[in-house]
């Protein structure tokens, strides 16, 4: 099974930094065709998209979660 990997960050990364990230993710995930994109809207952290699976570890998602928790009370 072929998994396309998209790594989204808020700032642009150097190729060495990208390679380090791919190595780290390769320890856990199997993927091909890695792509790095920049999206300032995520504010910080990283969003990993593996085919149809999205692992959102961005600061924007955490802020959304905090807002949801606060407004629920």
């Amino acid at each position: 099974m072929v998994n396309d990997l998209i790594v989204t960050t808020a700032i642009a990364l150097e190729p060495a930094e990208q390679e380090k990230i791919l190595e780290s993710l390769g320890e856990t995930f199997i993927f091909t065709h890695p792509t790095f994109t920049v999206d300032p809207k995520i504010l910080g952290g990283v969003k990993v998209t593996l085919s149809d699976r999205i692992i959102d570890c961005s600061v924007a998602r955490k802020l959304r979660q905090i807002r949801t928790d606060l407004t629920k009370r």
Binding site: I11, L25, L43, A60, L63, T71
Partner: protein, 164 residues
Amino acid sequence: MKELLDPLYLGLHMANFIVLAFFLRKLLYKPVKKLMDKRNELVAEQQKKLMDADADIERKKVELEASMTEREEKMQAAQAAAMAEITEKANAVMQKAHAEAEELLVSGRANIEREHQSAVANLDVTIAELAVEVAGKLISTQLTQEEQKALIEQGIREAKSFGK
């Protein structure tokens, strides 16, 4: 003078007086007495009529007073009944107004409480949204490259933990 003392003359005078007295009695005294009796009867009859009229007036006066008393009692009874009815209606209106006022008060308090809760909830939401928005702006403008990279490394670790 001698003639006046004549017994015959005296007898004639006496006879004359007797005849005169007889006729006076027959022709004058009896009719007058009869007339007087009749008048007395008429007066007595008129007095009796007057007394009857007085009695009738007195009786009518008593009847009128009784009628007036009865009417006055009836009027007082009607007035008391009307007053009781008015009082009862006024009490009913007062009770209804009081109940409606109480209901409005309770409803108003409930509305105020709901509005208060809603305002507090809206305020909480607004504060939360503002806080998150301010935090987002601060993060996007204040984070250094090093801090951004540290966050990326942390995110990679979290992503790997989801993959295990």
